[in-house]
């Protein structure tokens, strides 16, 4: 596919060599591409599914782009570019590519190497995840959909082993009104959902993200989802009794004593029989995660899994926990422990479906697996990854690429040159050729610098840096 780059391709597309498809979800497709000018640089390109005819630009896309434009942090995925295909008005987001994610890392340990993730890696991943989350929360952004497949880890390169929080489709600024979580056909897995949400809370806070981090922490330790409830599939937002049941079995029954606002939660009030009536045996979180109760990891975990969202640890508090001050100390490269001689796990690279082009259509080229290291063959189709072998898509002999070659007037919207590029895209975007002059942009570069400074400053506040930094880690 990469060698099919025609000279008359749209300008923005010409800067990339498309490798293939690496993911597919309700939002659309994700592709792997290389930047031609810098072949060592890989880019993940997320193509938003066309919104329903007549709905215009999808609200999810607007929110995600808007939030990603405002944030900049080492532990948050970086949006490099937004491209618009003006022919069909589809949107493409270009991100720095991350080779791994926690879903695959956990799976690799569980199914392939059959061995726990080493403590240094668990701690480093958790610390960086909290560091990114603390940044988001201090900028009043809630993620709302944290789960292992949304936590990326960078592969080989300068940023190797750096954790990146991704997928902001459901994220939002605190004060904005919320749509029900199941909206837009987006189904959020319930395993990481906080108890206040499961009990039907109308108001909730950034503490929902911390609950998810707690669940992910436990999963990193045990390689199994902590609360694997059976999801009730119905709309909108059905009561997830089984999920609560799984939680109560491990953490014990919540009480109004310990969680005073519990009494006001709709499902707690309405479902006397199942929720209030059922008595659960003594809690046994430590036996599930195989940690002694006095262990600092256990202490941190139990504070993230606090029932009362007001008492639940915040990201900033968690970063301060003694767990992170004890050996092994967390580091920037979560995948490679600093101690020489420690075993380094080679995680498989993402499977790439090289038969799919940017339009999502499949050609009849023979499959080529982008293989490296101990690449696993087949069976990689996780919740968010579409493996090479099962691509149930129509085959278009002359489809996608040919059509794309005609699309010359795609305008790149380069974030680096902000307004200027936005303007240059104007001609192509002009609906119905409205004659418009170019206005004077308000000093985009200066503005961007200011913004970055502000963000950097915010980032600096209360952001402790890696605890007890030791130069060998960097």
């Amino acid at each position: 596919m990469s060698n099919r780059s025609g000279s008359n391709r749209p300008e923005w597309l010409q800067q990339y060599d498309l490798i293939g498809k690496i993911g597919e979800g309700t939002y659309g497709l994700v592709f792997l591409a290389k930047i031609k000018s810098n072949r060592s640089k890989s880019i993940a390109i997320k193509k938003f599914k066309q919104s329903k005819d007549g709905d215009g630009v999808s609200p999810t896309a607007i929110r995600e782009i808007m939030l990603l434009r405002e944030i900049s942090h080492e532990n948050v995925v970086k949006l490099v570019n937004v491209h618009i295909n003006h022919i069909d008005m589809s949107l493409y987001l270009a991100f720095d590519y991350a080779e791994h994610d926690l879903y695959e890392i956990i799976r690799h340990h569980r199914d392939k190497v059959n061995q726990a993730i080493n403590q240094y890696t668990v701690k480093s991943i958790l610390w960086q995840l909290l560091n990114g989350l603390n940044y988001l929360h201090s900028n009043w952004i809630m993620h709302r959909d944290l789960k292992p497949s949304n936590i990326l880890v960078m592969g080989d390169g300068e940023e190797q082993g750096v954790v990146k929080i991704a997928d902001f489709g459901l994220a939002r600024i605190y004060q904005a009104p919320l749509k029900p979580l199941s909206d837009n056909g987006v189904v959020v897995t319930i395993w990481y959902r906080a108890p206040e949400l499961l009990l039907g809370a109308k108001h909730y806070t950034s503490a929902v993200d911390m609950w998810a981090v707690g669940c992910i922490f436990a999963e990193l330790l045990t390689l199994k989802p902590l609360f694997q409830g059976q999801e009730v599939k119905a709309t909108p937002n059905p009561f997830q009794l089984d999920q609560l049941d799984k939680i109560f079995k491990v953490l014990g029954h919540p009480t109004v004593d310990k969680w005073p606002t519990l009494a006001h939660l709709p499902h707690w009030q309405s479902d006397q029989q199942h929720i209030q009536g059922h008595k659960y045996d003594s809690p046994g979180l430590y036996s599930v995660v195989h940690l002694p109760p006095k262990n600092s990891a256990y202490d941190l975990l139990s504070k993230m899994l606090e029932y009362d969202p007001r008492k639940r640890l915040t990201a900033a508090q968690a970063l301060d926990h003694e767990y992170f001050r004890m050996e092994p100390l967390p580091g920037r490269n979560a995948l490679v422990p600093p101690q020489p001689g420690e075993k380094i796990v080679n995680y498989p690279t993402r499977p790439v479906d090289t038969n799919t082009d940017f339009e999502g259509t499949t050609s009849l080229q023979p499959a080529q697996q982008q293989a490296s290291g101990n690449q696993m063959s087949g069976g990689m189709a996780g919740a968010h990854i579409m493996g090479t072998r099962n691509v149930p898509r129509p085959v278009h002999m002359v489809g996608g690429m040919q059509r794309m070659q005609q699309q010359q007037n795609m305008a790149a919207y380069n974030l680096a040159s902000q307004a200027a590029a936005g303007m240059s895209g104007g001609a192509a975007m002009n609906p119905g050729n409205i004659p418009m002059q170019r206005g004077v942009a308000a000093q985009p570069h200066q503005q961007q610098q200011q913004q970055q400074q502000q963000l950097r400053r915010k980032d600096g506040m209360g952001m402790p840096g890696y605890p007890q930094q030791k130069s060998r880690r960097f």
Binding site: M66, E70, A419, A442
Partner: protein
């Protein structure tokens, strides 16, 4: 909502439902939490980050007048469509900020009313996508004089998004009203009528003034002050805002000028005999309900909302 709920900023929480809409506004001022102060400060700080400034691209008088009229038409369309769909006021206001920011960066030629109308539709649709739980499909946005296909509106949406560099998270004065009322209300009896008054001032302001010329927080505090007392002098005004710590970063001069501007707009309006839609709207707020639709101010945003099921009948 608990009828005894104290007056804290609900913005720190996410709300999933509209149940609060059915309750009368009841303002009971309590000590705002320090969290609120912090949040308000962060909002004010974020305003400065999006330091778009309006720039007059054209100094031809007739073009200016043409644009002013076209803008007014767009404003009126936005506000009447807001009412039909039961959107929040902040949604309408937000769409106007998009509108003004767009026009500070691009110029729409004289006589292209249809382009202004199309822009108004795209801005309202985008604002609704940012703020509302239920967003009608594009074909439901009926323009006054033209019929636009959905794909044309979508193109315009994209044009607005790129022109505004995807910075769609606009802050409106409505985000501040609660907080500011709670801060200066120990000296002034804060009630529903005053809140409605302040909302009315903000809306009248948005109709007449390029929103890029004034910071949302400044408009909000000026409207709150004017609602409480329309006889403030520069000194008494400074005295009042001196107690609001979250306002320290704002220039007193700007607040005073905005206060005077709002006051002038009101005087001008009161001297104009024909009631426009804004006056009608405002009259509706103070009588708590009429024409069979619950029109109540909600706590969470001070805004009225028509039940959604009314929509089909009204269209």
């Amino acid at each position: 909502m608990d009828p005894d709920a104290t007056f804290t900023l609900p913005s720190l929480l996410c709300e999933e439902d509209d149940s609060s809409l059915d309750h009368q506004v009841k303002i009971k001022v309590s000590q705002p939490r320090s969290d609120d102060d912090q949040y308000i400060r962060s909002l004010i700080e974020r305003e400065t980050q999006s330091n778009d400034s309006s720039c007059v691209i054209c100094d031809d008088e007739s073009t200016k007048n043409w644009f002013k009229c076209a803008r007014l038409d767009a404003v009126n369309w936005i506000f009447s469509t807001r009412e039909i769909w039961g959107f929040h006021f902040r949604t309408a206001y937000l769409s106007l900020t998009y509108f003004d920011r767009f026009n500070s960066r691009r110029v729409i030629d004289d006589g292209k009313e249809w382009a202004i109308e199309l822009l108004g539709i795209a801005c309202l649709s985008l604002a609704a996508k940012m703020e509302e739980q239920i967003v009608p499909s594009l074909s439901h946005f009926k323009a006054q004089g033209y019929i636009f296909e959905s794909s044309v509106i979508q193109r315009m949406e994209l044009m607005v998004l790129t022109t505004l560099e995807w910075k769609m998270c606009g802050i409106t004065p409505f985000a501040y009203l609660h907080h500011f009322f709670s801060k200066i209300s120990d000296e002034c009896d804060c009630n529903e009528v005053l809140v409605s008054k302040a909302i009315g001032f903000v809306l009248d302001f948005s109709k007449e003034v390029n929103l890029m010329d004034h910071r949302p927080s400044v408009v909000a505090i000026a409207a709150v002050l004017l609602a409480c007392d329309d006889q403030l002098t520069r000194n008494t005004l400074e005295c009042k805002i001196g107690v609001v710590s979250s306002l320290y970063s704002l220039e007193k001069e700007c607040i005073y000028n905005c206060y005077i501007l709002l006051k002038e707009l009101e005087t001008k309006k009161n001297n104009t005999p024909d009631l426009n839609s804004f006056d009608l709207l405002r009259n509706n707020w103070s009588k708590s309900s009429n024409i069979g639709i619950k029109r109540k101010l909600t706590y969470n945003g001070f805004e009225q909302k028509c039940p959604v099921q009314k929509i089909s009948r009204r269209l």
